[in-house]
């Protein structure tokens, strides 16, 4: 770890230093600083900011402070009652110790587990633009089959963000005096030719809240995560489904997939394939096919395409049973 300047901010205004990295739970930042992957000169601790509350939003939705810990959010009564997909996603992630530290804002921006990104002895277009991508012909079992480019196929690791994608969460961010709202789907950038640029936030811009819109009455939601072992592993494939069914017909569907793409993957193709259709296995299968259409496998991760389809079919089956 390199030497760095450390300050603590007590107000949001004081925290907004464009030359600093924000330290919340530290579960990604500190980890990567130890590996020399992140080498900030200044770190500002934002844990004292008043952003750790979950409140009712005016539209009937939920307003979640950026510093709400994953473990607290997972068991919040409103989340459990109205946004089960989010609670399930949170509880499927990491370990209890990590969830006790990790925050809502930090989780959205957590960095990939790509082996080559995490080792500075390798080239990496995310770390050093233009240096190359050793994952392309390396061991790429955990890498993305959707959203990748020839420059980067690193998987976005978050479970929480996948659930929030299906909940159409909105991110509230502050920079200087400006506060803006960003639809979660628009927060993330595909790697394209600039995999080092992972989101639209500017230097010194801080996520302050995430809001979840109120769901239509009768909506049910579920998160299903598939992986090698039962706990403490990133998803090989996961599915977040938020659906309302009436008279055996799917009125509304919001679908997101995790573990298979370079960002939390909202699948409007799957949604379109489901809405207005009957809740049948055949239609679920068609939605899964639509979701994974155009997936590009690498040497070791072809199985993820089929696995993601099965995750989605099962999640839909459970929700509409």
């Amino acid at each position: 770890m390199r030497a760095f300047q450390f300050t603590q901010a007590k107000t949001v205004d004081a925290a907004l230093d464009p030359g600093s990295r924000f330290l919340a739970g530290g579960t990604t930042l500190i980890d990567l600083m130890k590996l020399d992957v992140e080498t900030p000169e200044r770190v500002v601790d934002i844990n004292l900011l008043p952003l750790a509350r979950v409140e009712a939003a005016p539209d009937g939705g939920l307003k979640i402070g950026a510093l709400v810990r994953n473990s607290d959010l997972a068991v919040h009564p409103e989340v459990k009652a109205r946004y089960a997909v989010l609670s399930e996603a949170l509880l499927s992630g990491a370990s209890p110790q990590l969830r006790n530290m990790a925050t809502t804002g930090g989780n959205l921006l957590q960095r990939t587990r790509c082996y080559y990104f995490r080792d500075t002895a390798y080239a990496c277009n995310k770390r050093q633009p233009g240096s190359g991508c050793p994952a392309m012909d390396g061991y790429n079992r955990i890498h993305a089959v959707l959203g990748g480019s020839e420059h980067c196929v690193a998987t976005h690791p978050s479970d929480m963000a996948v659930a929030m994608m299906a909940l159409e969460a909105v991110v509230h961010a502050r920079k200087d005096k400006r506060e803006r709202r960003i639809a979660l789907d628009e927060l993330y950038l595909l790697p394209g030719t600039t995999p080092d640029k992972e989101n639209v936030l500017e230097p010194g811009e801080l996520i302050t809240y995430v809001t979840l819109p109120k769901l239509p009455a009768g909506t049910k939601s579920h998160y299903l995560k598939l992986r090698d072992r039962a706990q403490y592993e990133f998803a090989l494939a996961s599915a977040a489904v938020v659906v309302s069914v009436s008279g055996g017909r799917i009125e509304r569907a919001r679908i997101a997939l995790g573990g298979i793409a370079t960002k939390p993957w909202r699948s409007r193709e799957a949604e379109a394939a489901l809405e207005g259709k009957s809740a049948s296995e055949e239609n679920f299968r068609a939605a899964a096919e639509a979701a994974m259409h155009g997936a590009k496998p690498l040497r070791d991760n072809k199985f993820k395409i089929e696995l993601a389809k099965r995750a989605l079919v099962r999640a839909l089956t459970v929700m509409t049973a």
């Binding site: 002895a121 050793p134 061991y139 090698d228 072992r229 039962a230 403490y232 199985f303 079919v313 099962r314």
Partner: protein, 737 residues
């Protein structure tokens, strides 16, 4: 008379220290003026060092030295094979020359006042290389394959296989596995007045002492190894790895205590591993399932510095009855660090192949896999022609089958179900050699009413402290809370390495004999002491129980507490030592433990998810000294077996030989959530050929059947025969169940 603690469920005497964090592991020892060494590891898989530029690092704050092959005193090779206790993890001492044999090899050591200073400076040591493409794969055409002397044959297996009416011919692959002990390898070396004190985490304090004495070129009595606790070894701490001689060398060079801890990432390269194996098994059998031929060929990776043989064919000659057997091993030298024993070495990977082939044979013959094993039951060891010292494998199979409900198994693939899940049932044979070596132990009875037992062995988490105390308590009747066990110190009477599941069998005899011997002294004292109630009596008429000396045939209450006799003579303590040798029956018998494992998996085809649902292990491992610690050994081994079967694999980047998943997040071991209901049954037939207590080792045998039982259960559930571990989702997607 109080009943003995031997054979009971006894809680570990060191348990409280461990769970309250007060047990001081190697690098926990508070040492004044300690400096920290951080290794610089090679970033290439093969080649030569062309230069080491330490000019920046040397000027950084707190840096004391940057040591490498160009600027240090030599570290010597050990005198193996001519002298005992001289086995290092890797034959080549660190910094011997400028050659890089594998990724992660230590090429320099930065020593600084603090760990952080040393880490930071280590990043600024610039090493330049002349790199070659490393050999990483067992089937790399450039890799050299060497025969070994492990070659067993009886009858003519090739001919018998060729003419056998039913055949299985299959190849099984197990990837590299890394031990991943919780406590990282680490060493603190103190050099004072020409002597080393080494705080270590080791499975063998005596071997460690010998190796460091030889590598650093100092007389053996000038090396004192202290290792009171070991946070898991699983074989990776049997022998010293480079961090130990480097810590010693740095301490001597700088005249200051030095600690070197191996970071988790380098535990994947530089502290041993279970090497990748490829096993070709051919079985020939009659239509009614009698084996005619077993041909077992195994090859494994080794490093350019050591010829490490993973003895996969170890059990093949004796496990099943068969007239024609060949077992051959070969080595493939690759640019990967030196392999070493990992829990159940040889037999564990060997049994995955052999018993998987047996299941394939059972499927071909349409015979129940348990029945097939009974039809080929070895009544004697057909390789040595000796009787087994104590074999109750048939009872293991039967007890296990009954308890598991094996008779309800429908052999048809995918035919058994529980709700959404398809069930798969598998079983396997377990085996491990019964070993006992030589040991010395000392027992002391003190006037304060306490006993102390000491031996230069170590407790690697298996319960050795407790077992030593239990034996003293068994012999003297002194309650466990008044018996202190001392170990993990090379200045104590030489004891065994904790390896090969031999420590308990080795130590119990020495401790028992030392206990008897010190009691003899006590009885003599009792009959030659004025005011002693036994003054003038025949010492042979005395016994000790419940911690009291009394007449044979009378109650302990009739006698006196032993400490009273010592006080009468104003003696602080009596102490005796005993030295015992190998198993008395070793010339006459073939000595092995056996067992059977039954495992149920659940297969959810909709999401291609396979999980273990329950396991049952029945062990015939002689008498169990401590059922709690013993049961834990089997449970732990089964957990490790679930990891081996379904999760574990060290993945090397073919371009540079780096293990890409070199951390706890990416190298998957079983978590608590992966471990289902487990049951362990011990048959407990004492094996008197091994010693008075009849206890055989149990540290490793619990792992030997798990992978093949899971592979069998997986086939039963999914119809997919996985011959290459780990059994992961991509291999199961083809299932049509």
């Amino acid at each position: 008379m109080a009943t003995s603690v031997v054979g009971k469920e006894v809680t570990r005497v060191d348990g409280r220290l461990k769970v309250t964090g007060r047990a001081a592991y190697a690098v926990d020892h508070p040492i004044e003026n300690l400096a920290y060494g951080v290794p610089v590891a090679s970033a290439i898989g093969s080649g030569k060092i062309t230069g080491i530029d330490a000019s920046v690092a040397e000027k950084m704050p707190g840096v004391l030295a940057v040591m490498h092959h160009g600027n240090t005193e030599p570290i010597f090779r050990t005198a193996e094979p001519f002298e005992r206790d001289s086995h290092p993890g890797e034959n080549r001492p660190p910094f011997e020359d400028d050659v890089v044999y594998y990724y992660g090899q230590f090429v320099a050591l930065v020593v600084a006042n603090t760990l952080q200073q040393a880490q930071e400076a280590a990043r600024h040591v610039k090493v330049s290389y002349d790199a070659k493409k490393p050999l990483i794969s067992l089937d790399d055409p450039g890799a050299e394959t060497k025969p070994t002397r492990r070659h067993y044959t009886r009858g003519d297996a090739d001919a018998a296989f060729a003419s056998a009416p039913v055949k299985v011919d299959a190849t099984y692959v197990i990837p590299t596995e890394t031990h991943n002990a919780m406590e990282m390898h680490g060493s603190i070396a103190v050099w004072k007045d020409g002597k080393f004190t080494l705080y270590e985490t080791t499975q063998g304090v005596m071997n460690h002492q010998g190796v460091i004495s030889q590598m650093l070129g100092v007389p053996v009595e000038n090396v004192h190894v202290v290792s009171p606790f070991c946070g898991g070894g699983f074989g990776s701490k049997l022998f010293p790895w480079p961090q130990s001689p480097l810590a010693a060398l740095a301490a001597r060079t700088l005249g200051r205590p030095v600690q070197v801890t191996v970071p988790r990432s380098l535990m994947f390269t530089t502290t041993g591993h279970r090497p990748e194996t490829e096993q070709h098994v051919r079985l020939g059998a009659t239509q009614d399932g009698k084996l005619l031929a077993i041909a077992h060929e195994a090859k494994n990776q080794t490093s350019p510095m050591n010829d490490y043989v993973e003895g996969c064919t170890e059990p093949t000659p004796f496990l099943y009855s068969c007239p024609n057997v060949t077992a051959v091993q070969s080595l493939v030298t690759l640019n990967i660090g030196t392999p070493t024993s990992m829990r159940g070495p040889g037999t564990t990977p060997g049994m995955f192949a052999l018993d998987s082939a047996m299941d394939e044979l059972a499927v071909k013959l349409n015979i129940d896999p348990l029945e097939l094993r009974l039809r080929n039951y070895a009544e004697k060891d057909e390789s040595s022609n000796r009787p087994f010292s104590s074999k109750h494998l048939r009872e293991c199979y039967q007890t296990g089958a009954e308890k598991f409900g094996w008779s309800k198994r429908n052999p048809k693939v995918g035919s058994m179900r529980d709700g959404n899940e398809i069930l798969g049932w598998g079983m396997a044979t377990c085996t491990w050699g019964a070993y006992r070596g030589g040991a010395q132990a000392r027992v002391r009875l003190s006037a304060d009413g306490r006993a102390r037992v000491s031996c230069a062995t170590q407790d690697i988490g298996t319960g050795t402290y407790t077992v030593m105390a239990e034996i003293v308590s068994d012999k003297t009747g002194i309650p466990l809370d008044r018996v202190d066990a001392v170990l993990g110190d090379s200045s104590l009477p030489p004891g065994p390495t904790s390896g090969g599941s031999s420590a308990t069998a080795t130590i119990v005899s020495a401790v028992a004999q030392a206990s008897m011997s010190v009691m003899d002294d006590l009885f003599k004292l009792a009959v030659h002491t004025e005011k002693s109630p036994f003054n003038g009596a025949d010492s042979a008429s005395l016994v000790m129980s419940s911690g009291r000396v009394h007449k044979k045939g009378e109650s302990p209450e009739s006698g006196v507490p032993f400490e009273q006799l010592l006080k009468l003579r104003r003696i602080a303590a009596l102490e005796q030592e005993a030295k015992t040798g190998g198993a008395p029956g070793r010339e006459k018998y073939s000595m092995h433990s056996f067992g059977a494992q039954f495992i149920e998996v659940g297969w959810d085809p909709g999401i291609a998810r396979l999980r273990v649902r329950r396991t049952l292990t029945v062990m015939d491992a002689g008498r169990i000294i401590n059922k709690k610690a013993g049961g834990n050994q089997i449970l732990g081994a089964v957990v490790m077996g679930i990891g081996m079967a379904m999760l574990e694999e060290t993945v090397y980047d073919p371009r540079n030989g780096k293990p890409v998943n070199n951390n706890y997040a990416d190298y998957l071991v079983a978590t608590n959530a992966d471990v289902p209901e487990q049951e362990v049954i011990f048959l407990e037939y004492p094996d008197l050929a091994i010693g008075e207590y009849g206890a055989r080792g149990i540290g490793e045998i619990g792992l030997t059947g798990v992978a093949s039982a899971i592979a069998m259960a997986t086939y039963h559930a999914t119809g997919v025969r996985v011959r290459e571990l780990p059994i992961r989702v991509e291999k199961l997607l083809e299932s049509r169940v």
